[in-house]
Symmetry: C2
Subunit: 530 residues, 2 copies
């Protein structure tokens, strides 16, 4: 590590020190030459007697020219009092910069972590260097060599409050264009209530999405997508532990999976194909092919012209399918337990991320019961009826009814997650197993988070004859689903499953108001960019 | 557990036993009635004095009628001498059945595990039950109650050789159609050399794929896809451990990602969109958005009319992208180490699966070095030149040259995996970072398994100006890639990455001859079904 403290000339150097000094001198000369070249290249004016020459400027584009540089960078989150007095190198974004006389205050940012850097005119820091520093554009990536200094009063507005950095070198690694289409501070401003600073500048959703690479740099977005990765990891870990096998199902399919509506058409060489609206047929084929318990995570496509807060035309499906012995509740409760495990994992492993999101958006913590609450569809109807909302025994729940039921269930049971079992047969797809005891209901379930559906599932009909009957009853052309029916011709265990929308789970877990906040590059009927 | 041993009438029952007997009688009567109903339903003829009545037949379709059945099933792989004398229930496929006089021999199958079941005419087993058993169609799913019996000589042709099962009950859970489009034995027959039994019946690839749910039931396919799931799991575990974040990138994109060739068009509401040929732009945007290290697993689409053993129109991409400090080798070696970890994980955790695949296909075990071998492109050219194959300094390697080089490298270094670094600039995409020391080469690499490319990667240009220059040099319309170039306008760290084809990795690791063997439902220019 290079010491920046100016060497006291009265100090008598020992030979080791002298050698070090020599080496340093040579290094500095080399750097000075490089610096000059760079600055000439970038057309900066270099003062002849700049004491800081060789300690700042625009680095040449990193093209992997040096293979043996072993400079160690310190992460901003690691900067604390224990490093006081030490010299560190930090590569980070320039979050803000402010010049004041002979000083320049910079805030460096790495994700949610920020630290203050001072560039002060001194014996070793020239005015030119301070000027250069104060002109670096926001969002540029810089390399800073600095001494860690403990501060008396906490540094306001930075995550690292006990220390600041006293810069000795400052190099621009990748410069940002000067005009930003959105300001990170604006995109990060709390959206709950009024801002105490009186700054109510917000960034609207489209501006955010049009400039997603900037928008994603906010602490909130960093937290959201780290948590989203956590949901996938927990989903897989829990199911792998239970003996599930991960599979990959085709997205290009020969026929529209559920009757032909809402499906995207793909031109496929000289013919046409479609984009899968769900991996269901393939999951079921895996069950018929003895994989017993399977899951798959992948893109799911819906050509639905729904411009709502919770619809996307492409989303990430967390799907599972499982053979059972006698009763589909074996599967339904496996899914219920899966959610409990995910909720616990998020609560325990993503506390920091949840807190960060909560600082920008006001969110009530997510509550759940263990084991999860299971309500019969008729019980749900009863709770709604008591609140004055009638739902017929063969009707589906409307979205407002679902939301109301969510609130009523929360008030009664204090849970944001519950399972609604035994939906009317009439409102479920043809492949849903009818209830053996009641011809009007079915072996199917939905699960809800904060009153919104996040998984729809059921026991599937595994008998080709009954499947054919039910398809006919639904007016479906048998020829078009022959391949599906044939999957059950050669023996198939009873099975059930469901599909979870990843972005919805994250949106609802965090209590966000729009699914576009939890899709990194969302697709809707009006947006296929960036 | 129900005892099947006939009760000795001379035995004096105590009250507990008597109660048990009563319960059993009632149970049996109920079953008899059910059995009769079932058989009437399925139009079987029931003999009036059938001693086995109630112990066999077709189960009614499992529609989750009983919620409280807690019968415990034993897995075939668990059946061994230690269970001798015990009664067990097994749910499995009827693999084969053979009647001989008053006996019926059944082989039950669960994935790669098989066990022999005897149904013998006796005091409690009627001729009718034996006849029923011998008529069950192959691939039907059955529930068998049986006593585990230790055998003197090993049971030939079964995985469980020390025991067989003496059936007391036998129920068909899900019957298979009698005519199978392919036989599991045929699909499982070793393809290396001649079969010692002289049976050279093989099942061709198209028959297999047309009837994939049957084909996937072979022990080999069960092993292949379990191992494939393992590759994904290892990939994620290694990268998550190193701080990578999983992301999801859109498959529907606004413009053809790499120039427009080989891309599928999707009709998108009133307009058109395309299917992503790679998640690269989005991975890079995640890097520009401060995610630092990212990976994504998802479908990748190539509208290439290539009908070869190693091309698919849709495959699973294991993609990663990583910011580095000074040199793209930081990333290249991370990927190299990732492969080492995957190879070690497969070797240690999937020994059984590798062995099963090896029984059907002759495969040399996969060899690798730790750390992996890295060759400079010029070294590769030299090795080829020594073998008489000249490759120009600015030429790409042809597929035959790659294969030859793979064999030469294997002979010289005893490794099936190696990295070829520093490809000619001319043969790489426009966004590849040119080598700073040699204008004809680039900071790019391919990696090979058994002489076939499985990942192509590089340092990407993270500077909008140089990127624009290079795109123009390649004759690319700058307007069409404006969004891509803009991703680097607001500061971006130097970064590199690559994309791995999952199916290729599994094919080459196992030494299989066709990528359709490692895609569960493969898609090629001629196949979009099932």
């Amino acid at each position: 590590m290079v010491e920046t403290k100016p060497v006291d000339p009265s100090e008598k150097p020992d030979s080791k020190k002298a050698a070090k000094k020599e080496a340093k001198k040579a290094e500095k000369a080399a750097k000075k030459a490089e610096h000059k070249a760079n600055n000439e290249q970038s057309q900066n004016i270099v003062e002849e007697n700049d004491v800081s020459a060789g300690n700042y400027g625009n680095l040449p584009l990193i093209r992997s020219a040096d293979s043996n540089l072993d400079r160690k960078f310190t992460y901003i989150k690691e900067l604390n009092k224990s490093l006081a007095g030490q010299n560190v190198w930090v590569r980070a974004r320039l979050h803000t910069v402010r010049a004041r006389g002979k000083q320049c205050f910079i805030v460096l940012r790495q994700r949610e972590f920020t630290v203050q850097v001072l560039v002060n005119v001194s014996e070793t820091i020239s005015k030119a260097m301070v000027k250069f520093s104060s002109n670096i554009t926001k969002e540029s990536i810089v390399d800073v060599e600095a001494k860690v200094v403990e501060v008396g009063a906490a540094v306001a507005g930075c995550s690292q409050q006990e220390v600041e950095l006293l810069a000795s070198q400052l190099w621009v690694v990748s410069a940002s264009a000067p005009q930003l289409p959105l300001q990170i501070e604006d995109a990060s401003r709390p959206e709950k209530g009024d801002d105490p600073e009186g700054l109510n500048i917000r960034v609207n959703q489209d501006t955010r999405l049009d400039n997603r690479i900037l928008d994603l740099r906010t602490a909130t977005n960093q937290a959201i997508f780290r948590l989203e990765a956590g949901v996938c990891r927990l989903f897989r870990e829990v199911l792998t532990e239970k003996g599930f096998v991960e599979i990959h199902t085709p997205k290009i399919i020969p026929a529209a999976s559920e009757g032909g509506a809402n499906v995207f058409t793909v031109s496929y060489f000289k013919g046409s194909a479609y984009l899968a609206q769900s991996p269901q047929l393939y999951k079921q084929m895996a069950i018929a092919a003895d994989f017993d318990k399977v899951f798959t995570i992948g893109a799911v496509f819906r050509a639905e012209d729904s411009n709502t807060h919770r619809h996307l035309t492409e989303f990430t499906g967390l799907d599972l399918e499982m053979a059972f012995n006698y009763h589909y509740h074996e599967v339904m409760l496996t899914i219920g337990d899966l959610f409990t495990a995910i909720f616990k994992g998020l609560r325990d492993q993503f506390q920091k991320e949840i807190e960060i999101v909560g600082q920008q958006y006001s969110v009530e913590p997510f509550t759940f019961l263990e084991p999860p609450l299971v309500l019969h569809f008729d019980e749900g109807r009863k709770i709604l009826a008591e609140a004055g909302v009638e739902v017929g025994p063969e009707d589906d729940l409307s979205t407002p009814a679902e939301k109301l039921l969510g609130r009523l269930v929360k008030a009664k049971y204090d849970t944001d997650f519950y399972i609604l079992d035994k939906y009317p047969l009439a409102v479920r797809p043809f492949y849903t197993m009818p209830d053996p005891h009641n011809p009007k209901t079915s072996n199917s379930y939905d699960m809800f988070m904060r009153g919104e559906e996040i998984i729809s599932g059921a026991q599937r009909i595994h008998d080709p004859q009954l499947l054919t009957e039910r398809a006919k009853h639904h007016g479906i052309d048998i020829n078009k689903i022959a391949a599906y029916i044939d999957a059950f011709k050669y023996g198939c265990p009873p099975h059930a499953g469901g599909g979870i929308g990843l972005e919805r789970v994250v949106m609802l877990y965090l209590g966000l108001d729009n699914i576009r906040k939890t899709s990194m590059f969302p697709r809707d009927p009006k947006r296929v960019t960036p």
